[in-house]
Symmetry: C2
Subunit: 457 residues, 2 copies
């Protein structure tokens, strides 16, 4: 078992007796509904069996080949995508390599994520970053119509055209498309120009798509062993297949049950994903989308936050220790040291650190974890601890699958469809109307905006 | 007035009548207590009059001179500090330049922030980043005893010693110290080695110190106009001096009163700082420390979060729109375009974006703001909007002072001392005991840990 869920740092805030039995039974039922397809959104469970099956497909091989091509020719890879079309790839790249990937890489392209903002300054920054460098685009969008993504793709296509003075052979060699298999504007454009295409699966939402072509192509371009990533996820798929029913039988069920307990029975409002590695910051962003977008509906859901310790103990630490008691933490701990850096003795001991000389930094960081978890539990902020052997592709693959499955079970427990996201459309509807986009549905929204807000659009 | 507080996007969730009058009167009283020193923690109000006074000091001139020296000799500046000793500088550098500062800078050193983690991997990453480059250290610590900071300083001092093969003249030219004016291990070491020193003021907490030497030296090293930064803050100091008493008289009071209203009268639990510029992400981290550490005590306080739109509309957007109604937003909007990037027309219009051709991206981003604020308000997540002319040093200085003062007033309104942070010590006490540090107080904690948790340390 690669991952262990520990409850030693909950300060006694744990379900027991009949309450515990009921909670784990509820989690088991939710798990069964997920496996059987009896739950809501059953058509969006493609991710459930994907890790074991996908590596045997023709497309998977093409992803690895395309990544080798891109690594060979590109100094910069621009990944154009928003939400699930970039968060997973960015999270895995930094988690497996470093938060300084772009500045420490060797023999792989710099990778910048765009198409996720409308900030003109960000476009101007990227113009400077691609200036004089051979750049390749991987655009990732199911329909090709998502505004941020479409705007960035049009913009950087124009930069490619400038760079290569309209030489279509050169331009077309530098565009890779990840989109719907059968339809859409982007697929059409790709076919017309001969760009290689990869599939955004129709049976999993963006936040569940990191282990498909959506995430794997950029991840492979960073030189990460995608076979190991998928093997970790596949091992988790096998390990978490059977529903539990009691604590210790299935960590996905256990985690879902305990989150539900804090949410429903301990009045917690915010779950903080906490790690002790700065290179896991982007993984926290992926986690926030996964849980926030899956559960935040119908007035429900824990608000997902993320912190990095010990860094943020000197920022949000005060609030966590003594602010409103609406928090609990899910702490990620790595069990094996990666480097073996130790503190050296210093003559004079001016800073008073000689008592640590010879101790590994890994051990000091681990002690900080223990002290923090004890202090927070004492302050009535319980920690659930996820202990993972190490920060590598295999274990990160395992962790991704663990969270995906636990999140689906958790969503069923609170009674929502964890696979939809209707709320994301609300601002888009207003935005397209305000931008003057043509179409009946936009006219309807414009009429509404005029009537309710007096907006002339 | 550089900044305007707009309430157009609150969906009617605003205080009125007698309730409003009472709230603004409470804010006025809190403001008066802050100005007069009648409030809690009055000894920590050094920041209140600092922006107007500090630029006239000898030290301020030395900071600018030191920054010129560092820019001339260093390829890399390592800033060693945790919490308030780095968040402000990092926030300002990215806000005024770019989130890609290290990759887009010209004629200024790369700047890496360390001393804020115990992750051995992060140390290993930095070893690679300083390899073969001429690096200078700015260590920022009041006492020199903060563990993360002291560990990093000892570590990178050893790297300097290796690089210069023990040539103390070369080593000593590359260390700048920001610490207590009169005492402490770090000051002592600086004196012994002839390192230039700058002062961590005793009358302001770390989270209020960005406009002192703590923040200004790294900020100046990034080539940012610190005079403009201070001028903006000084202008805000003058503008917000007089307590208000009714909406529109003093934006600090208004903001504090409205936050209090959402917290106490609308049962909001989380405040989200939202911006539309990715380069403001680190500013959000500074904001989270400022409010979280100032208010999160005695079981009180809004939990501070931060989001970047439109990016996170495809991540936390679903939760914000339809999850638990415990959120409100403080949205930062810039009023002036910076670049003038527009979308170009494309023949064929395959992506269907030609209706936007000729429109500036600035305008599209602004429309996204309007659509989002309307949609969220309709979903009962009100937005307070801070409208700031532009993203430059002057306006960021203004914004910093605005938040600092509003935060102090807000803390007084909820009845806490906004200037202390006792809770941060809890984990430290456990950690030092567990690490085997010598001392009576650590022995006491060890005895406690043994008694309560059975830990043999």
């Amino acid at each position: 078992m690669a991952l262990a869920l520990l409850t030693d740092y909950t300060g006694g805030q744990l379900p027991a007796g009949a309450q515990a039995a009921k909670l784990y039974a509820q989690a088991k039922q939710a798990h069964q509904d997920l496996e059987s397809g009896a739950g809501q959104g059953a058509g969006m469970r493609g991710w459930l069996k994907f890790p074991a099956e996908y590596p045997m497909t023709e497309e998977y091989g093409r992803i690895k080949a395309a990544a080798e091509e891109i690594k060979a020719k590109a100094e910069v890879l621009l990944v154009i995508g928003i939400g699930g079309s970039y968060l997973g790839a960015r999270a895995v790249i930094e988690a497996v390599t470093s938060r300084y990937y772009n500045e420490t890489r060797e023999n792989t392209p710099a990778i910048y994520f765009t198409g996720n903002t409308l900030s003109e300054s960000d476009f101007a920054d990227l113009d400077r970053l691609i200036e004089g460098r051979d750049f390749t685009i991987n655009v990732i969008s199911k329909s090709g119509k998502t505004l941020e993504c479409a705007v960035a793709f049009r913009y950087f296509k124009a930069r490619l055209a400038e760079k290569w003075a309209g030489d279509t052979a050169q331009i077309n060699k530098r565009i890779y498309v990840t989109t719907d298999e059968h339809k859409g504007a982007l697929l059409q454009e790709a076919k017309e120009n001969g760009w290689p295409t990869f599939v955004v699966p129709t049976d999993m939402g963006g936040r569940y798509s990191v282990l498909s072509a959506v995430g794997l192509l950029p991840i492979a371009c960073a030189g990460i062993d995608v076979d190991a990533l998928m093997a970790g996820a596949a091992a988790a798929q096998a390990a978490y297949k059977e529903p539990g029913g009691a604590f210790g039988e299935n960590a996905c069920d256990d985690y879902a049950a305990l989150r539900y307990y804090y949410y429903k029975h301990r009045r917690k409002a915010v779950e903080l994903f906490a790690g002790y590695e700065p290179s896991m910051v982007q993984f926290g962003e992926w986690y926030k989308q996964l849980f926030g977008e899956s559960e935040g509906k119908r007035g429900q859901g824990l608000f997902p936050g993320a912190v990095t310790f010990t860094t943020d103990l000197h920022s949000l630490g005060q609030y966590i220790q003594q602010g409103r008691r609406i928090l609990f933490e899910t702490v990620l701990r790595f069990e094996q040291a990666a480097n073996g850096i130790s503190l050296e003795e210093e003559p004079g001991d001016g800073d008073g650190l000689n008592y640590l000389a010879g101790k590994s930094l890994f051990e000091v960081n681990r002690t900080a974890f223990q002290a923090t978890a004890l202090a927070h539990a004492k302050g009535r902020c319980p920690s659930l601890v996820l202990a993972l052997p190490k920060r590598d592709a295999y274990n990160i693959g395992w962790l991704i699958y663990f969270f995906e499955k636990a999140c689906a079970i958790s969503g069923y427990m609170i009674g929502v469809n964890p696979f939809d996201q209707d709320g994301v459309e609300k601002y888009k509807n207003y935005m397209f109307a305000l931008l003057g986009k043509k179409g009946k549905e936009h006219n309807r929204v414009r009429a509404h905006l005029k009537r309710v807000y007096g907006l002339e659009v």
